[in-house]
């Protein structure tokens, strides 16, 4: 950890301290709710409710959506939606304490901002699709799943990181 006053925004927690805190939080989450944390479910709820709002009959007719839209059930009244709101607030608190809050595009000096955004969009698209096939993303499936020794948790953990290591060479110009 470097404590450089000129670059205070790059001063982060010791990673093992962060890991300890995260581990205790996940254990507490399981202890209280019986489930782990998640990060894609909240976004999914907004997709479902948007489609329901724009095309209600379409949403009711489709099997994927009809699981979430019922007459007396609002898809936004969902544990993961409130948790996602919490993530945004918590990250904003941490960022503002350390002076990291401002609008900017972070990218390698070797690529343009536009290129960064195109690949950010592509990466998000892939995560959106992949997380549905895998029944969870890095948080819900890999992190929370492997904590309770789910087979699926280890499959996704090894799958995500393994794939990224295998293909890292082809995308190196985006980052280094």
């Amino acid at each position: 950890m470097e404590f450089d006053n000129k670059q205070l925004r790059h001063v982060y927690w010791n990673p093992y301290f962060g890991g300890l805190m995260l581990g205790l939080l996940i254990a507490a989450t399981f202890y209280v709710t019986g489930r782990g944390v998640g990060a894609t479910g909240g976004t999914k709820a907004t997709v479902v409710s948007t489609v329901d709002l724009i095309a209600h009959e379409h949403a009711e007719g489709q099997e994927f959506f009809s699981k979430y839209v019922d007459e007396d059930k609002n898809p936004m009244k969902n544990w993961l939606v409130f948790e996602t709101l919490g993530i945004l607030i918590g990250a904003f608190l941490s960022g503002s304490i350390k002076g990291r809050v401002n609008f900017r595009i972070q990218h390698s000096p070797k690529i343009t901002a536009k290129r960064r955004l195109v690949f950010a969009l592509a990466g998000g698209l892939l995560f959106g699709v992949g997380s549905q096939f895998a029944r969870g993303c890095t948080s819900g499936a890999a992190l929370s799943g492997s904590t309770v020794l789910s087979l699926a948790g280890f499959i996704t953990m090894i799958g995500i990181f393994g794939t990224a290591y295998v293909f890292a060479y082809f995308f190196r110009k985006l980052w280094i």
């Binding site: 093992y16 254990a27 945004l88 960022g95 350390k98 592509a122 096939f133 789910s150 794939t163 290591y165």
Partner: protein
């Protein structure tokens, strides 16, 4: 005995308050550990920053051992905890898709939310991508439904599949984590420093 909301020790009305507080702590920890920076995250794949491995494997070890220990002491029924269902083939395919998404976008969904919170436009665009990806998946669902539901093995754990003692496994995982941290430090010293 835990889990508390299962055993009606905490009423379900508190669920959303708890959700908000857990999310708040989750977001705070991720951001404070540097997970709102894509270049810091991706460092794990190029050897210039191993924060992902250090935080992730520490967290899994701590949480796994804590929960098993609470179960051992009788404070928690480990068998009631939610196990993610295994759909072998779609899960492998989905993870490969997500691995490529990580390399291109530099975030995963949780970390991109922390980037959104501190105003990173690349994080906002990434989250928009997730939104569109889920929309595309759901619109294409009738065509991919059969594949999506293939390879179902149930909500199974490592113990169910490999007949291994959970305590042995948790110990083994922690040992692997320490080896990974040591290897990461050795690699980190050899790789050229990146400014970001």
């Amino acid at each position: 005995m835990g889990p508390l909301t299962f055993n009606d020790i905490i009423s379900t009305e508190w669920n959303y308050v708890i959700a908000l507080l857990i999310g708040l702590a989750f977001g705070y920890i991720l951001e404070a550990s540097g997970f709102s920076s894509s270049r810091k995250l991706v460092g794990v794949f190029y050897g210039y920053d191993f924060v992902v491995i250090r935080v992730f494997m520490t967290a899994v070890s701590v949480a796994m051992i804590t929960l098993l220990y609470l179960d051992y002491l009788g404070f928690l029924d480990f068998s009631l905890l939610y196990v993610v269902p295994t759909y072998l083939t779609p899960q492998i395919v989905g993870s490969i898709i997500m691995g490529l998404g990580f390399l291109m976008g530099g975030f995963c969904p949780g970390t991109s939310l922390t980037a959104v919170a501190i105003g990173k436009i690349d994080g906002i665009v990434f989250t928009g991508g997730i939104w569109l990806g889920i929309l595309g998946f759901s619109e294409a669902y009738p065509y991919i439904e059969d594949f999506n539901n293939s390879g179902y093995m149930g909500n199974i754990t490592i113990m169910d599949q490999f007949d291994i003692n959970p305590y042995t496994f948790a110990f083994g995982f922690a040992v692997v984590a320490v080896i990974a941290f040591t290897a990461a430090s050795m690699i980190r010293r050899k790789v050229k420093e990146i400014q970001y």
